[in-house]
Symmetry: C2
Subunit: 190 residues, 2 copies
């Protein structure tokens, strides 16, 4: 796959073949890619907790899915993520970098997509403290993002919008998921 194809294929997937397991080595490889990304002043404050298939049910209840789909509470059993990577910041190292998290998260998603998997960045974690306790994560860390991962079971269709149009994603009766994106000519300023 050439790089632009990976970017295009990298959609925010929210339904998966839950029982198609992602091997631990593969999840570790995704983190190794994140390890080698640019970091503000090279401080590298981010750490990663890998949630494999066996631990997946500990994480799922803490996640808020697709705020814009009012009628949908998130993926049903059997279509939930097969794994997660939790992006943590090490409180002893952080200085409030704005960019490291997005850089790392996108790198993990692209890593998955390049191998025909997919994921979704989830920022809204209900009761982070509870989740950290359940996973035995020390309070030297804070949860920044949760990246859901799996083999996508969802058709995501990109559409284009004009300035001022509704940018909310939506689904049709068949469950196809539509994502409106701004046009290239509307995002290049000259």
């Amino acid at each position: 796959m050439i790089f632009s194809e990976i970017v295009k294929k990298n959609r925010s997937y929210r339904r998966y073949y839950e029982d198609k397991i992602i091997p631990n080595d593969t999840l570790t490889e995704f983190v190794d890619n994140a390890r080698l990304t640019p970091s503000t002043r090279n401080l590298q404050p981010l750490k990663y907790y890998i949630v494999d298939y066996d631990k997946r049910n500990t994480v799922f209840p803490h996640l808020k899915w697709a705020a814009m789909l009012a009628d949908w509470d998130g993926p049903k059993e059997g279509e939930r993520p097969a794994a997660y990577i939790i992006v943590l910041s090490d409180k002893s190292l952080t200085t409030g970098s704005k960019w490291d998290e997005g850089i790392a998260a996108q790198t993990i998603l692209l890593s998955a997509t390049a191998q025909n998997m997919g994921g979704c960045i989830i920022a809204t974690v209900l009761n982070k403290e509870d989740l950290m306790k359940s996973l035995n994560i020390s309070d030297n860390f804070s949860i920044e993002l949760v990246i859901a991962l799996g083999f996508p079971k969802e058709n995501v269709i990109l559409t284009e919008i004009n300035p001022g149009d509704d940018f909310k994603y939506y689904r049709d009766a068949e469950g196809n998921h539509y994502v409106p994106k701004r046009k290239l000519s509307d995002i290049i300023i000259s």
Copy 2:
């Protein structure tokens, strides 16, 4: 190139073959990749200003290079970036998303690396207002990041550090640039 090779090759380059021009179509393609990245609530508040070879000298004096290299003021003439992409946020759309900028910037850098170019994310822009005036960017926008781009003329070597070691990048007498990265075992929490 497989994806993990692109990630590894994607270093923060600060010296380039300045006169190896990046065609405008290629820069536009990088922005098109950024266009298709995940955006918080799909709001897509980021816009992009492409600075091509002819305009490069307008941007260069505004940039602060490699804060950690005390003896180095930035690349000399002939080794400066051939182009830039300025990541702007559209003030009429922003709600202070923390992640979109990093996601977009990393996608642009990986796009360049996949085509044997390279870049560097620069967050410290001296006098943003002046730069915006020089480029005729309306104050409906604010500058978030500047991405320097070009064909790298620099040898960047990754090393590994232990917790507590100095994480600062440095150069040797031959100008090789060393970047210490934390070990995989030190960034995976379990």
